[in-house]
Symmetry: C2
Subunit: 118 residues, 2 copies
Amino acid sequence: MIEDIVQKTLLYDFYGQLLTEKQRDIMEMYYTDDLSLSEISEQIGISRQGVYDTLKRAETTLIEYETRLGLVDKFLQHKSILSKITNMLNEILTGDHDNISEVKNKIKSIKNFIEKLE
Amino acid sequence: MIEDIVQKTLLYDFYGQLLTEKQRDIMEMYYTDDLSLSEISEQIGISRQGVYDTLKRAETTLIEYETRLGLVDKFLQHKSILSKITNMLNEILTGDHDNISEVKNKIKSIKNFIEKLE
């Protein structure tokens, strides 16, 4: 459930600007402000079913954009690589290195990871 | 002129999948295969003006996507940061470092650049 919301939030972060203003408003009320369908319905004056349909259509649109562009997937891959690089940099910073050659080997590995980001 | 083509190629790389198949075909014939408008016109059997209009409409669409999502701009920023990081890693690899503290200072700077990529 939480993963589902994280996934939808990421999709919204990447492709939200391609939705209509109405779709964006309803998604923000539902996911960011945590309002119920009925509360949104009252607030913007369309039926509860209308709110539900708009929400579902917006989510389908976001998934379609991800299928075509794959930005969320790429973002998550980059995030994982950046995390590995940061760990390796921290190992150098906190480690007790007697000779520079050991550090240089780590630097070479970091360079390989950096290339994956290009 | 070259910059203009690079810019259009980047826009196409990022958002090409959001164009219609016809728009993609014509953009590839024009920019990748380097065919003239007349040659494309003959090849796909629409008027030269039709080819021109499709090309212009596709380019306008790509620019609209960039205005909304800014992926090319972000990509170029990341590329510049990655290049700086690579240079700093190379400095460590090729440098003649007597003590590790100098290297650690460089590593700290690299960490700051990595954070900008997150």
